[in-house]
């Protein structure tokens, strides 16, 4: 495949709300086909019973993040059977799943749909070692891709930290408790066959997130993974002065825009600087006597603290980023688990992402048209992915990118980003330590900031400021061999990933 040649069956991105011209498509929900006993204790038996074979599509959620062993267990069985041309559809992939590199190189795994990818798997794919494509969706986009049948899952392996023999379960308790299982819900509803994998079998489960009527088998294993691995490495508030400066200015900006008022809603995600924004927002809320209606997305202990302090009414949690969030979701009735549909499905009118007043997001690159890259490095190596980036940037009333102007001597602002993850029309504001740029599409925001003491520049001015410090980086020559696609939340292709 060569550059700008869309593979058959894929459509190009037009604009952010273009999909609304088309009606919502939903394949029928799939109930459990197995009406007999569900409990199994061997992955081999599951493969035999379900007839897992060459060419099938298997899916996983990533709520155990870098502690997940379920995907590795399935990979080992695929390797042992030497199955070929398997497509995987995990909601994200982490460094501890590097075993997959061998399966990719051996032709066992030939296509991957995911939303975020970090570690050696990205290197292997970017080196052109996978036969077919890597397809990077958004979290909300994945839910619709599964609902609409764009991604057809043959078997979903759903890690379920607490489960009964009927397949009712949740992630709130158990040795591998990980909290919300929101990203597994599309798989549970629409995969042809479903296996709940658990290491904590209980007689019955109240208020299950994973419902037995959809589950064909329950696979009891010794261990789902390492619970400590679910903690993102970036759930602590930064002490870096640049990060704190950015966060402090962001909070001032939010206040100036009138976004910190009673009943507001927010998402800040994990990451040292975005968490620092939450800290400054909290300080501001206390000073002003303001309470938020809700926070959503990936939830950290810091939001839990704000919930317990009465500063936030409700948390809508699609994934827990740390163990404090896991604890809270099990005991606090205002801390709700939500599905990927409720979070960010593009066709869910009342998705939480669409109700956000503001979202704070990161960027590895941003360009003069405000397009953002969170998928690759400037060399094109896949190191991340949208997750909910494009979903919340589109849904929130105000989307704000927070990033240092320069990272490791390279300006973050480019004329053109290496890879578009989120289109510029969905990005409203860039906050750096050297100043703030507002997307000219948002004249309403610019007019609100007219008399502000904040340092407001055009993005071109910030770009020049960066170049004055770093000089102009030499352009990188890239290959034209496409190894993957980046899809917008409506499954249209917004950019290509190239072999490096």
């Amino acid at each position: 495949m060569k550059m700008n040649m869309l593979p058959e069956g894929f459509r190009p991105f037009v604009k952010a709300d273009d999909y609304l011209k088309y009606p919502r498509k939903s394949i029928p929900i799939v109930y459990a086909q197995n009406q007999g006993p569900k409990l199994q204790t061997s992955i081999k038996e599951i493969f035999d019973i379900l007839g897992i074979k060459d060419g099938m599509t298997l899916s996983f959620h990533h709520h155990l993040r870098n502690g997940d062993e379920v995907l590795n267990m399935v990979m080992r069985e695929i390797q042992a059977r030497n199955l070929k041309n398997i497509t995987l559809a995990p909601s994200s992939l982490f460094p501890n799943q590097r075993l997959m590199c061998e399966l990719i190189e051996n032709g066992n795994v030939t296509r991957i749909y995911t939303n975020y990818l970090n570690g050696d798997i990205g290197k292997t794919i970017c080196q052109g070692k996978m036969k077919d494509l890597l397809i990077m969706d958004t979290h909300g986009g994945r839910s619709y891709a599964i609902e609409s049948g764009d991604i057809k899952i043959d078997v979903a392996f759903i890690a379920t930290p607490c489960c009964d023999q009927e397949g009712n379960g949740h992630g709130k308790i158990g040795p591998s408790a990980c909290g919300s299982l929101g990203y597994a819900i599309p798989d549970m509803l629409y995969a042809k066959r479903k296996v709940a994998v658990t290491d904590y079998l209980v007689p019955s489960v109240e208020d299950p997130e994973i419902q037995g009527r959809y589950i064909d088998y329950v696979l009891k294993v010794d261990k789902l993974g390492e619970q400590s691995g679910i903690v993102s490495g970036t759930t602590k508030i930064t002490r870096d002065p640049i990060g704190l400066k950015i966060a402090s200015d962001t909070a001032k900006l939010l206040d100036k825009l009138g976004l910190i008022e009673n009943g507001f809603s927010m998402q800040t995600g994990a990451g040292g600087t975005t968490l620092a924004v939450a800290k400054y927002v909290r300080d501001l809320m206390i000073k002003k006597g303001v309470k938020a209606k809700f926070a959503c997305g990936g939830i950290t202990g810091y939001f839990v603290q704000m919930l317990e302090e009465g500063l936030i009414e409700d948390l809508y949690d699609v994934q827990c980023f740390d163990l404090e969030a896991v604890r809270s979701i099990g005991v606090n009735s205002n801390h709700h688990a939500i599905s990927a549909f409720e979070y960010a499905n593009p066709y869910e009118e009342n998705a939480r992402a669409n109700q956000l007043d503001f979202v704070i997001l990161g960027a590895t690159e941003i360009d003069l048209d405000f397009n953002v890259n969170v998928t690759t490095t400037s060399h094109g190596l896949v190191i991340g992915g949208s997750g909910g980036h494009a979903d919340t940037a589109h849904g929130a009333k105000v989307s704000i990118i927070v990033t240092p102007l320069i990272k490791t001597r390279i300006p973050i602002i480019k004329e053109r980003v290496t890879t578009i993850t989120t289109p510029g029309e969905d990005i409203d504001i860039l906050v750096t330590e050297q100043g703030i740029a507002i997307n000219p599409l948002r004249q309403d925001l610019l007019s609100k900031l007219q008399n502000s003491k904040l340092k407001i520049y055009t993005i071109e001015e910030l770009y020049k400021k960066a170049l004055a410090m770093t000089g102009v980086p030499s352009p990188l020559k890239r290959s034209e061999d496409v190894v993957g696609l980046v899809r917008y939340r409506d499954q249209t292709v917004i950019d290509f990933l190239y072999r490096i």
């Binding site: 002490r239 002065p241 704190l244 400066k245 402090s248 050297q434 003491k453």
Partner: protein, 280 residues
């Protein structure tokens, strides 16, 4: 007058580039203690290039090495120019401040620098404390910085966070500086992770008459700026007093309190500070 003075090592280009972001009223580019002896040459060249290439919206101070050493002389030769607002002199005494003033005058003349570069003597020895009343009266001195770490070492006394051991030098410096109408700049608080300790330390120094404080980490700047700036309440009251004074002659009463010239003068100082710090 500056509330906050941020030390930045002059051999750290990333930090130097970011210095403008941290809202410090003044930045002290350090060529002395934070630069290893093997890096002195490269640091002063880097600083000279940095000063030449940039413009600044903060006060630029350079801490040089002792003039008793060759490095101090080389520092001056390399970095004295129109972008430098003040030179900070370590282990200040009457004698070495006078020597520095003489050298600066010569540089300004030779290099056609159309401004007078100020001096901030760093009082960090027992003799410096004793001479401070004379030092503040010397030409070019715009303020005194207390260096508590070296001072307590010189005095062979233990340094601690509560700072009882530096009450006397703080007070002596504050009195001398106020008498000479120059700045009294407090020593840095060295535990950069103790936010509460910083607040307590800055408040203690302010109560003794210090007018600003130095910082060794950018995260300390917001706290220092807040503590050494007039509060919203003080500014509002000062504005009321000055407005009332424009109507009344001599002593008058406001809210049942007598307002006389010292109170009006103080209110004018508060308003002046508020304007300078962009609080009005």
């Amino acid at each position: 007058m500056s509330r906050s003075y941020l030390f930045i090592p002059a051999n750290r280009p990333g930090m130097m580039q970011s210095a403008a972001c941290f809202s410090a009223d003044a930045v002290i580019f350090d060529l002395e203690d934070s630069v290893a002896i093997t890096e002195k040459d490269s640091a002063r060249i880097l600083l000279q290039e940095f000063l030449t290439a940039n413009t600044f919206d903060y006060e630029v101070v350079v801490r040089i090495n002792s003039l008793d050493q060759n490095d101090g002389i080389l520092d001056l030769e390399t970095i004295v120019g129109p972008k430098v607002d003040a030179i900070m002199l370590p282990k200040a005494t009457v004698e070495n401040v006078q020597k520095l003033a003489y050298r600066l005058a010569n540089f300004e003349k030779a290099r056609k620098i159309n401004k007078e570069i100020a001096i901030i003597p760093l009082v960090e020895t027992a003799i410096g404390v004793l001479e401070v009343e004379e030092i503040v009266c010397l030409d070019r001195v715009k303020g005194i910085l207390l260096g508590a770490e070296d001072l307590t070492s010189d005095m062979e006394i233990e340094r601690n966070k509560t700072g009882e051991e530096i009450t006397y030098p703080r007070a002596r410096i504050a009195f001398a500086c106020h008498a000479a109408k120059v700045e009294a700049i407090d020593t840095p608080f060295t535990d950069v992770n103790d936010d509460e300790g910083l607040v307590a330390d800055a408040l203690r120094a302010r109560k003794l008459g210090m007018t600003g404080k130095s910082a060794i980490h950018p995260n300390q700047i917001p706290v220092i700026n807040e503590i050494y700036a007039p509060s919203e309440k003080q500014i509002a009251q000062a504005l009321r007093i000055v407005e009332a004074a424009s109507i009344h002659q001599g002593v008058f009463s406001l809210d049942g309190n007598m307002i006389d010239k010292p109170i009006i003068d103080r209110s004018e100082k508060i308003i002046s500070k508020a304007k300078r710090y962009d609080l009005l």
